[in-house]
């Protein structure tokens, strides 16, 4: 629909010359249009990452009775740009004995899957880059690729700290992926679809219909596994400062370090957006009655990207809150929680769901 509008706008601007130009552009137009859509997702995403870093420092600052960054720009609002510029102008140092090729490719390998996963996230009823049937599986596959960046960074740096960090991270991500996958199986069972848009549409009818309620234990498991998968506090042993300096990215400087940073925060936003889509009703408003509120001919509180943004921000705030609250887990505790608590909990709940769906209370589980 937007595509037609853009094309007709071009036609009016170019006037009589549009037809020859169009005959030239036509074969590659789908590629151009897809690239435009990718840029339209990627740029707001990168800006969100910039302001998430600021929000993190501000929120944790307030929680610890500090002010947080407040020097650059009004209320410190330009701080992320100052940080990016600083990173850009810093020298990239390659350690002696490092595997140069892999050392340079590792940050890109951690960033690319984090970006690619956004292709299937439905922002609203019609706003999705690629509406594929196996969307949920695609997300799982892409997030499981992110670990290569971390492993290669640790190995290619030729540093013992980095290597320890990458081994810890690999073991942790592989363990928690299983629990996360099982939590998604629960979503698949109640939604009866792997398509993320259909999953959201299955939760229509207000907050009481969200999958959060029938899948409450799986929601908790998903959120905690999400924190562990993104190597966030309190599961950040991969970069545990007190033991292994900075873990896998200890040898990285300048913009290469910034790429790891970007990937981590982008994954955080991805996990939060997914939690909103799968458990909190995605773009749907929590009260169906809000769809009828009309202000100057528009429905500002109806089902739209606004709600997805609000829900994602709420989950992100919880990530920051958790970071400010809990001390870091010990490595064996992380492994125990993943294998001996989460995986049994998810398995039991999947069986329970299957049994309940055959009883007369099945309507409670959609």
């Amino acid at each position: 629909m937007i595509e037609q509008h853009v094309l007709s706008a071009f036609a009016t601007i170019w006037g009589p010359w549009w037809d020859p130009v169009w005959s030239f552009v036509r074969p590659v137009w789908p590629g151009i249009w897809t690239l435009t859509k990718i840029v339209a997702i990627a740029i707001p995403l990168i800006l969100s990452v910039a302001y998430l870093t600021l929000a993190e420092r501000k929120v944790i600052g307030w929680m610890q009775v500090r002010i947080g960054p407040n020097r650059v720009g009004p209320l410190g609002l330009l701080q992320p740009f100052a940080d990016v510029l600083k990173m850009l102008f810093k020298e990239i140092i390659v350690p002696t004995g490092a595997n140069r090729w892999l050392f340079f490719i590792a940050p890109m390998l951690s960033l690319a899957p984090a970006l690619a996963a956004w292709a299937v996230i439905p922002f609203s009823e019609s706003l999705v880059l690629s509406n594929i049937n196996a969307g949920l599986l695609y997300i799982l596959a892409m997030t499981s690729m992110g670990v290569y960046g971390i492993i290669l960074a640790g190995w290619a740096s030729n540093s013992k700290y980095a290597f320890l960090g990458c081994l810890r991270s690999a073991a942790q991500i592989v363990s928690y992926e299983i629990a996360m996958g099982f939590a998604l199986v629960g979503v698949l069972m109640v939604a009866n679809s792997l398509n993320l848009g259909d999953i959201v549409r299955g939760q229509e009818g207000g907050a009481a219909q969200w999958y959060l309620w029938p899948l409450l234990p799986l929601f908790v498991v998903y959120i905690v596994s999400g924190i562990a998968e993104t190597n966030r506090h309190p599961f950040d042993v991969a970069e545990g400062e007190s033991e292994i300096v900075a873990g896998f990215h200890v040898e990285y400087s300048g913009i290469m370090f910034a790429l790891f940073f970007l990937a981590e925060y982008m994954n955080m936003i991805l996990v939060s957006a997914l939690a909103s889509v799968m458990f909190l009703g995605g773009w749907l408003s929590p009260l169906p009655i809000l769809n009828d509120v009309e202000v100057f001919g528009v429905h500002p509180f109806g089902d739209s990207i606004l709600w997805l943004g609000l829900k994602t921000s709420a989950v992100l705030f919880m990530f920051l809150w958790v970071r400010a609250t809990f001390p870091r887990y010990r490595y064996d505790q992380i492994m125990r929680l993943g294998w001996k608590v989460f995986i049994p909990v998810t398995l039991v709940w999947i069986v329970f769901l299957g049994v309940m769906m055959q009883t007369r209370w099945a309507y409670l589980f959609h």
Binding site: L102, I132, N133, A134, L137, Y138, L140, A141, S144, M145, V147, Y148, I151, L152, W155, F163, L167, A170, A171, I173, V174, E177, S193, L194, N195, D332, Q333, R336
Partner: protein, 199 residues
């Protein structure tokens, strides 16, 4: 040449090149990474065949889990590559036999399908091929599938019992004991008389 065939040949070239690099590169970590690339490219070719479920599962299972553990082990091994290469000649006959067999099988498969080109199964009906695969595995062929699952489970349990040794000397933490610790178990309050200052 349509865009479709162009992408197919691009992926096929990358796949063959990555496969060659797996066996020619000297560094085992690099070899594992080339293998990751070849898995990924194979998945891309499967997507061109509209087998999106199998393709994504290939990435999820082999790239996301199996190869990560593989890489994990290869990185930790301290292998002397020269000693590995010394046995090249003694392993050559077996290698040649296996390679020739694989080549023969693939040629047979390709030739027979090229002769009976009409016999190639058409792509699955439009719609989710996840659903089609699911109904095949869990409805039509549920017993063979479940038997295969049980055989795998037995294999897992056998592998664990064969390799698991209980070592008495290992130190371990009992989380229940740790969680039940009271202050009195760890802290002893000692009353000290205050020292008088000299001045």
């Amino acid at each position: 040449m349509t865009f479709f065939t162009f992408t197919f040949y691009a992926f096929a070239l990358i796949l063959v090149f990555a496969g060659l690099r797996v066996i020619t590169t000297r560094n085992p970590v690099h070899a594992a990474l080339w293998l990751v690339l070849s898995f990924f490219t194979a998945a891309a070719i499967w997507i061109l065949l509209q087998a999106e479920f199998l393709a994504i599962t290939l990435v999820l299972v082999y790239v996301g889990a199996v190869m990560v553990l593989f890489l994990f082990v290869v990185m930790m091994l301290d292998v002397n590559f020269d000693s590995l290469r010394r046995q090249f000649r003694s392993y050559l006959p077996q290698g040649v036999i296996v390679g020739a067999l694989v080549l023969l099988e693939m040629t047979l498969a390709v030739v027979s399908s090229a002769i009976g080109a009409a016999q190639i199964a058409p792509p699955l009906p439009t719609g989710s091929n996840t659903k089609a695969l699911g109904s095949l595995l869990y409805v039509d062929y549920v017993y063979p599938f479940e038997i295969a699952a049980v055989v795998l489970l037995v294999a897992i349990i056998a592998a664990i019992t064969l390799t698991h040794r209980k070592r008495k000397a290992t130190r371990y933490q009992d989380p229940a004991v740790q969680a039940n610790v009271r202050r009195e178990d760890r802290v002893r309050i000692v009353q000290m008389p205050a020292e008088k200052s000299e001045t």
